[in-house]
Symmetry: C2
DNA sequence: GTTCCTTCTGTAAACGTTTACAATACCTTT
DNA sequence: AAAGGTATTGTAAACGTTTACAGAAGGAAC
C-alpha cells in the first residue's frame, strides 16, 4: 500500500453507500445519526484501516492540536523536567507535543524551527532555554500563534516568559556563602550575554553590599558546560585565592569538582562549590553538590497552561530553593 | 492578525497582479520566470509576511519533509547521542525532525504517538529504545511510511532495526571480568523482557563456558535506573559473596557505586563495577566507570540514512567497545 | 389535510497549495 | 510571410476534510 492510496473517507462513503459528510460527522462524533449507520461506518473504517489525513483537516480547521516545544540543544540536563510537565498536562488535554531542537544563540536554526512549526499552524510554541534575538522575535510576533519563553526572560513585551529570577539567584548563592564565612568567592561558567548573565549582577551586588572585594579573575565566563568547570579551575588554581566557586550549572560544578580533586585538593575542605539548577545529578556525585534549585517542573506546567487555559501571565518569576548538600562548608576564620 | 487571515499566495497574486500558479512556482523556484517578476513576488511575499501553509502543500504533495523520532521517555541518557546524529544529517538534507515521547512498554502512548505522526504523512519514523508489542507493530505495518527501530531489536521481519548485540555485550562484559580473575559476578538492573534481556543470556553463557557457578541472587532485574543500582546493592550486600557487578546502564552503575560507598566499602577495591552504554556520565563520577560503550551516534546515523538514502538495511548490529576505566580491578587470588 | 417538529442524510463550497496543460508574446529561421 | 521555437504566464483540477445549509421521511397536533 502506498501513501497515494491510503483509505480516505471517500472510500468509506463508497463502501457504506453514504455521503462523505455523514462519514466525516460520524467519525468525529458530530451531529446525530442512527446507531446502525454509526456502527456500519466505524466498523468499515476499522476494517479498511482508515487513518485521518490531518493535513486536510488542519487545512479547513485552520489549526491543529499540536504544541511545539523548541528546546536549546546545548547540553543542559534540566529541560527534561520542563518537558515532562508539558507532556503530562498535554496528555490530559488530548494535545500532541512535538519537540524540536535549536541552537541557543544560533539565529538560523531558531528561525528554521519556528518557521517549521508556524507553517503547520501549531496551537502554541514553547521556547525552552533559548535566547532570542530581534530577528526571531519579529518572526514570532508576526504570527498570531501564542508563544512563551521558559527559563529565559525576554525584553520584548509581546512574548511572555516564566523563569527564575537570575539576579536574585546570583544574590542568594553569594549570600549563602558569605553567611558561611566566605569572602573570596568566584563565579564560573556564566554566559556573557542573555538573561542568565544577571546572575553575575546579583553576585556583584551582594559582594558589594557586604563590602567585599571582587577580583576580575574571579568572574569567568562560559556556557554552563562540564568543560567550563574543568577549565575554569585551571584559572583559579593559578593564584589559589578563592575559597568558594559559584558554578553556572550542575555540570559546571561537577567539572570543577573533578578538576579540583585531580589536583589533590578536596571539596568542600579546600574549596566550596555551589551550583545553579539542582537537577538529579547533584545527588549522584560525591560530595553531593549544594545547589540553588529551580522549579523546572512548575515552569513547564506554567508554560503549557498559558497555552491551554487562557493567556494571563505575561512575566512570571518562579521561586528557587537553596539546598545545602555536601559541597559547601562553613569557613572558620 | 488572526490565523484566519494569514497571508496566502492568493493575496500575493492579487497584490502583484499575477496568478497564484506563478506565485507558487516562483516561491518554490520551479519553472522559469523573468527576473523582474521574481523580484516583485519575493519582495511582496516578504513585505506581506507570507508563511507557507504546509497543511495545504502536504495535502497535494501527499507527503512532508518531516522525520518523526519517537523516543522512550524512561530516564535514559543515551538517546541524546542518537538524536544528535539524526538531527545533524537531517539538517544537511533539509529535513525537519519532530521528537515525540512515548512510554517504553506503554502500548497506548506508543499508539498515540505513532498515530499522530502517520496522520501527518511524515516521511519516516525512527523509534528509539522502544519495545513494541504486536498491536503497535501491526499499526506500523499497515502504513506505507518506512520506520526503523534503534537500540532495540524486533522480531517482526517487516521493521528493520539497528542496535548493539545485547547477547554479545553481556558475554563481553562477563568475559572481561573473568579475565581479570573474578568468578563471583552479578548482573543488575536488566529488564525481564525485551531484547535487552539477552544480556543475561550472554552473561550466563560466558559463566557456563568458564564452568562458573551462578547464584540465583546474582541476577537482579530492573529498568536500567539509578534507583535499581542503589536497591540492588542492598540485596547483594546481605551475603557479600560477589566481587563484581555488571550494571544495566551507566546510571545503574552509579547508583550502585554510591550505595557501596555509603556502606564504607570501596570501588574497585571491594567491588568492581562495569556498566553498559558508556555515555558522558561515566567520566564524571569518581572512580570513572568501566563500560561496554555502544555506538549511539552511528546508530542514529544509520537510522536517518535508512530513511533518506534508500532502504537497504534490514537488521544491523553495531560494534561496541570495552573501555576500562577505574571501577574495575584485577582480582589477585 | 395541513402544518410543524424531529431525526437523519446529502449537496456543495471552502481551506491553500501544486502542477499538467494551455495560451500568449516574441524571436528566429526559412 | 509562414513556421517553429522559447520564454513567460494563466487556467483549472486536484489533494481529503469539515460544515452550513438544504432536503427527505416520519410522526404528532390541529
Amino acid at each position: 500500500m502506498t501513501l497515494q492510496n491510503r483509505v480516505t473517507i471517500k472510500d468509506i462513503a463508497k463502501a457504506t453507500q453514504l455521503s462523505v459528510a455523514t462519514v466525516s460527522r460520524i467519525l468525529h462524533k458530530k451531529g446525530q445519526h442512527s446507531s446502525v449507520t454509526v456502527k456500519r461506518v466505524t466498523e468499515t473504517a476499522n476494517k479498511m484501516g482508515y487513518v485521518r489525513n490531518t493535513s486536510a483537516a488542519d487545512l479547513v480547521n485552520q489549526k491543529s492540536r499540536i504544541v511545539a516545544v523548541i528546546v536549546s540543544n546545548t547540553k543542559s540536563n534540566f529541560s527534561e523536567h520542563i518537558i515532562d510537565a508539558i507532556e503530562s498536562k498535554a496528555a490530559s488535554d488530548d494535545l500532541n507535543v512535538f519537540i524540536l531542537h535549536a541552537g541557543n544563540r544560533d539565529e538560523q536554526s531558531q528561525l528554521k524551527a519556528i518557521k517549521t512549526v508556524i507553517e503547520r499552524a501549531v496551537m502554541g510554541i514553547i521556547l525552552v532555554s533559548l535566547e532570542l534575538d530581534d530577528n526571531v522575535l519579529t518572526t514570532l510576533n508576526s504570527t498570531s500563534i501564542p508563544s512563551i519563553c521558559l527559563s529565559t526572560s525576554v525584553k520584548d513585551t509581546a512574548i511572555p516568559f516564566v523563569t527564575s529570577d537570575n539576579y536574585q539567584m546570583g544574590y542568594a548563592a553569594t549570600q549563602l556563602m558569605i553567611d558561611k564565612g566566605h569572602t573570596k568567592i568566584a563565579i564560573a561558567g556564566i554566559p556573557t550575554a542573555g538573561s542568565i548573565n544577571q546572575r553575575i549582577a546579583g553576585y556583584l551586588q551582594c559582594m558589594s553590599d557586604h563590602h567585599l572585594r571582587v577580583e576580575p579573575d574571579w568572574i569567568q565566563y562560559g556556557t554552563c558546560t562540564y568543560d567550563d568547570g574543568e577549565k575554569t579551575w585551571q584559572v583559579y588554581a593559578k593564584k589559589r585565592e578563592i575559597t568558594c566557586a559559584i558554578c553556572a550549572s550542575d555540570l559546571t560544578a561537577i567539572g570543577m569538582l573533578n578538576a579540583i580533586t585531580e589536583m589533590g585538593l578536596k571539596v568542600p575542605d579546600d574549596i566550596s562549590l555551589v551550583s545553579f539548577d539542582g537537577t538529579d545529578i547533584v545527588d549522584m556525585v560525591r560530595p553531593r553538590i549544594t545547589s540553588i534549585s529551580q522549579s523546572f517542573y512548575e515552569m513547564g506546567l506554567a508554560g503549557i497552561k498559558f497555552l491551554t487555559d487562557g493567556r494571563t501571565i505575561q512575566k512570571q518569576y518562579l521561586p528557587f530553593k537553596i539546598v545545602e548538600r555536601e559541597s559547601t562548608r562553613r569557613l572558620e576564620k
